[in-house]
Symmetry: C2
Subunit: 353 residues, 2 copies
């Protein structure tokens, strides 16, 4: 299946320099990358090449008009050394959904999937085996064509890089529910994994960090009354025994972890409600003690319990996590499936052979 992807091997490997027992998130990169160019109206054949710098004209549109989209995935190695991906086709499809909204040409499925598998084969040794570590995979597409006219580029690059990674967050996560700034507009690009969505979050997040929070929870830009999602995670709350998360919309990323958690919870008879979730309801639940848990869900952060939240100059603490918390239970369920420790009744896992 992958026999037709050309591979140019790196002359030397950096792998011996890497301390796989102390991996940060996304700081060291594997020896190779996948590269694929869009030119003359079509995607050229993807190639595996040594990890190397990208050279662009100063007028390349990525520098000026923000035409870029990306994905975030992970590869896991099980006890037998087999390599697994989690719902990779969903990442492929979402990349194209993002591309379309940003006027970037969509990719053929086999370029993405076969290219990714070929890359993982070449850099198989880079996939960590340690519990809690994995190979973070970053597919991205950006405008490499030139010109100062505010219109879509005529050339693009699709690249996949990988980074052996540990946990995304270190320590506890406290969040600030945002009242002033917003992540996305109705009819905007919030549902796309577009570069610009992230840059826009940095400044409000810095303000929150200065106040002692790690992340912002975004609310709708019209009223700031409804909880949407966090910077790189969808948000779940547990009120009494019910798990609640906001519906997706054109402002919210349709997270693969989120939808997996919803399915997993349902299959375990945990009551789940996908519905508008007002800040008022969450604050009241915190005040009357029915707010049991709050957690973020995303590929990078997996499931990240939230220890407390701030809203309008008040701080609310969440109860200490217990072993029977939904967050711990669901995190174990999903990572066990991802790392081939248990059966996968959903067909989510895909072996890379």
């Amino acid at each position: 299946m992958i026999h037709d992807i050309e591979v140019l091997k790196a002359k030397t490997s950096k792998i011996s320099e890497i301390d796989f027992n102390n991996l940060k998130f996304g700081h060291v990169f594997s020896d190779h990358m996948l590269e694929c160019d869009f030119k003359n109206g079509e995607w050229e054949a993807p190639k595996v090449v040594p990890y190397q710098p990208i050279t662009l004209d100063p007028s390349a549109k990525i520098f000026h008009y923000g035409q870029s989209v990306f994905e975030g995935m992970k590869a896991y190695k099980d006890a037998d050394g087999k390599v697994w991906l989690f719902r990779p086709l969903d990442n492929f499809k979402r990349l194209n959904i993002s591309s379309k909204r940003l006027a970037i040409p969509e990719l053929p499925e086999n370029y993405f999937m076969d290219g990714l598998k070929a890359l993982l084969k070449v850099d198989e040794d880079w996939i960590p085996e340690k519990e809690g570590s994995s190979l973070y995979i970053r597919p991205f597409v950006f405008a490499s064509g030139n010109g100062f006219h505010a219109s879509p580029a005529d050339e693009y690059k699709f690249i996949i890089c990988t980074a052996p990674s540990g946990a995304y967050f270190s320590g506890e996560v406290k969040v600030l529910i945002e009242e002033k700034y917003s992540r996305s507009a109705n009819g905007g690009v919030g549902f796309a994994k577009a570069g610009g969505n992230y840059a826009g979050q940095f400044y409000p997040t810095q303000l929150a960090v200065e106040k002692g929070y790690q992340q912002v929870i975004w609310t709708d830009d019209t009223s700031h009354e409804y909880i949407e999602e966090a910077g790189a995670m969808n948000i779940f709350v547990r009120i009494d025994d019910t798990l609640v998360t906001a519906p997706t919309s054109d402002r919210i990323l349709d997270g693969i972890t989120r939808k997996s958690i919803i399915e997993l919870a349902k299959s375990e008879n945990i009551p789940v409600e996908v519905r508008k979730l007002s800040v008022k309801e969450v604050v009241e639940a915190a005040q009357n003690g029915s707010l049991k848990e709050m957690f973020g869900a995303g590929t990078a952060a997996v499931i990240s319990p939230i220890s407390g939240f701030g809203y309008k100059d008040n701080d609310y603490e969440l109860p200490k996590l217990t072993d029977d918390s939904y967050a711990s239970f669901l995190k174990k369920r999903i990572t066990d499936i991802q790392t081939n420790k248990v059966e996968d009744p959903f067909g989510w896992r895909m072996e890379v052979k």
Copy 2:
């Protein structure tokens, strides 16, 4: 004043290859560029260097998180060969306003101003003399630091490139008033010249182009009832004899052409209203004949008369432009000031010596 900017001259010039009588917009670039790096917490001294490619690691944050801002300015050459800029300090200030919102470090004023002047001195021959042409100037700042963590970069590049340019639009401009898509959110980054704001407009603009329009007029994302601005221009309408434009907000770029037009009109006793402008009002004015003109205002497009607009499957034509139209009059007033043909009572012009 510019004696401390280091200049590395290009070995050869491309200028003889350029047909200055048939310039498109932003397609050919002058021999040099200004380059300035942010490293170890500070901006290093700017340098004029030959126009050259930029080399970045694949994990550079510009490719992933859209951290980029830019400006658009023009340099004009008058009949005596003197070189002029138009309100350049306003561009400098706006660049820093944009940077702040995108968590990009702000630039010192002299790095921007002295760097720009040094660059223009070196490439003075590239500034077109032909009426309607000018040297388009593109200052931009982007995240060159590395890593797959969704947080601000630790390194940035500030670059100024220039492009001898003709008109931005060729032919008439028909616009579509948008009912579904949006450019920016309340509390978002719409007031910043951030790369991501442009990429998000391309797809809706393509849909409009397929229907026969050149540009989209954006409306507020909450109700789509109020006119905001176009892709790279602020919008003015003339109802009877009054010029109306929307107030700026955190969703709208505070255009330098827009505010100059407002001041110019006031000084000419043209009634100007800066207020919310509903689509309903514009449609009714088109229907009852009081809508006399509609035009876009921006550095690239100068003043671009709009010949008609579409809204909810109906098309509305604007009256043919006459010599006493506000658009023609104000365009002549502003370009005469920009190109040193008339007195500049406002102190907007700055000579580059």
